[in-house]
């Protein structure tokens, strides 16, 4: 089940990049600021050498990590509460369902007003947007655990806490992992947006900065790098799921 290099897919990608290069160099495409891939590569080497890329990446990854952990804890705790308690679902789920579809971006100006241009603003927007997949998947995972497992906990004389930790949460783990993965993807997207508008640091700010400085090669280098970063983070989590989930049997990994 190891991931193999997709040769036809890679060839297509390389061909498209080559076509882009030829189109720009040959003058077939005449945007004022569309750099050729080779120029972007040169700019990329430049921002790596100057250390700008590293600084920006560390900032963004740092806030993604903090935001992700916060979202996992808050979303996971809410999900557990609502998954376990029919009372909570009956009385409070409707309120959350009203809050959930509000786009987090619309909150950015509000957060700015409250917390000014800061990491707090960035985190508030990130966490607000990314708790939802964690919340929904944890709640669903816990609520869908077979009621038989509660009987098992009772008849084996496990305490409610032991039943929760040893039986219910592990039973819901595949679903919770899906939530955690969706959550990470959202956190990165929101971090970039928040840095563009609300916190002048990191990769999002670097993109905007390159735009203002009219350095399209650098801008493209940052944008493409963000794409690679997203792919890498996703792959990392998938790999973690592959290590954790084989015990769950056929199909558990595929669901994540």
């Amino acid at each position: 089940m190891r991931a193999k290099l997709n040769i036809p897919g890679t060839l297509t990608l390389l061909a498209l990049v080559a076509l882009w290069e030829v189109a720009v160099r040959g003058g077939a495409v005449t945007f004022d600021y569309l750099p050729a891939p080779s120029a972007i590569a040169v700019a990329f080497v430049g921002i790596v050498r100057s250390g700008e890329l590293l600084t920006a990446t560390l900032h963004t990854l740092g806030s993604v990590l903090i935001g992700w952990v916060l979202a996992l804890v808050i979303g996971g705790a809410l999900g557990l509460l609502f998954g376990l308690s029919a009372f909570a679902r009956r009385w409070f789920l409707a309120t959350l369902e009203v809050l959930r579809p509000l786009p987090a971006i619309a909150f950015l100006p509000v957060a700015l007003l409250l917390f000014s241009f800061s990491l707090t603003t960035e985190l508030v927007v990130m966490v607000y947007a990314s708790i939802w997949p964690m919340f929904i998947n944890t709640m669903g995972g816990i609520a869908n655990v077979s009621s038989r497992l509660n009987d098992v906990g009772l008849t084996l004389k496990l305490s409610p806490t032991q039943t929760l930790l040893k039986v219910l949460i592990p039973a819901a783990a595949p679903s919770i992992l899906v939530g955690a993965r969706l959550c990470l993807g959202l956190t990165l997207v929101l971090a970039i947006i928040a840095e563009m508008i609300g916190n002048p640091h990191g990769l999002g700010y670097a993109v905007v900065n390159a735009l203002i400085a009219i350095q399209p090669e650098q801008m493209f280098a940052y944008v493409l790098f963000i794409g690679v970063l997203a792919i890498a983070l996703n792959a990392l989590l998938l790999q973690a799921a592959r290590l954790l989930l084989p015990a769950y049997g056929r199909g558990a990994v595929e669901t994540v």
Binding site: D151, L156, A171
Partner: protein, 266 residues
């Protein structure tokens, strides 16, 4: 002399007196068990048969402390049952739901004892339980790698690891094929003989009830109540061939068959 000792002297490990259970599905009152009185003798293998809807599983849940009675008394070793009593363990029919699919066989068996006993004792009990159900070679497998019959053996082993005084079994072999069922029946009889554990065994299979039981109770309903009880005096150890072909066995089978029909149900 304490009350508990008096009850223990009566030779009954369970005493149920006029037990009723009402549920309120969709706000409508429904009587599931109606003033049912029943004793389980210490060391007895009691089987309970009845058509569907006679409250067999509910009765077992009441005995196991998984659901509280609406009225009446259930006493286990003289003490009123409130919650799952220690010394009693339930084995469920749906083994794949009841096992922790992410834990190995050995770790499933450890679930009920790992926080209560030291590691050496836990390991010893896992080994004994695996041996009793013939799964020594499968300690490190996951349940989803095993056949249905083997998974049900794991659940029985997990119950045995608690060294219970009573095993409550809810149609444990209902989902298994005939061959597997026969070998598990003999397995359970062996455990009964070796450990002296009392059994309350629910089934809708009349032959199984006669083959296993010291006594068969026929339930009528709904609402569930006792129709009659039959003492089974077939000699032990029992044998899948000779016991089942004996005239006494066939007579019991016919008697209980008629009783189940007379008791009605769905």
């Amino acid at each position: 002399m304490s009350a508990a000792t008096v009850v223990a002297d009566s030779g009954n490990i369970y005493e149920c007196d006029a037990v009723s259970l009402e549920l309120f599905p969709h706000g409508k009152r429904r009587l599931i068990i109606d003033r049912l009185s029943l004793n389980v003798r210490t060391g007895e293998f009691l089987t309970i048969v009845g058509s569907s809807g006679t409250g067999k599983s509910t009765l077992l849940r009441l005995l196991g402390g998984l659901v509280p009675a609406t009225s009446g008394n259930i006493r286990f070793r003289g003490a009123a049952v409130a919650g799952a009593p220690s010394g009693v363990v339930v084995v469920f029919q749906d083994y794949s739901n009841a096992l922790l699919q992410w834990r190995t066989v050995a770790r499933n068996i450890a679930l009920g004892i790992e926080d209560k006993l030291d590691k050496a004792e836990v390991d010893a009990r896992i080994r004994q339980s695996l041996q009793m159900v013939g799964l020594e070679k499968n300690a490190l497998d996951h349940p989803w790698q095993l056949s249905g019959g083997m998974q049900q053996r794991v659940q029985i082993a997990r119950a045995l690891a608690l060294k219970p005084q009573v095993m409550l079994m809810d149609e444990p072999f209902g989902a298994l094929d005939a061959m597997t069922k026969a070998s598990l029946q003999d397995e359970v009889l062996k455990v009964h003989q070796q450990t002296g554990t009392s059994f309350v065994f629910i089934t809708h299979d009349i032959e199984e009830a006669v083959y296993l039981g010291d006594r068969v109770i026929v339930l009528a309903g709904p609402p569930g109540r006792i129709h009659n009880a039959v003492d089974i005096t077939l000699p032990r150890p029992r044998d899948q061939m000779s016991t089942r072909q004996s005239p006494e066995f066939l007579r019991y089978r016919a008697e209980i068959h008629d009783a189940v029909l007379a008791a009605g149900g769905h």
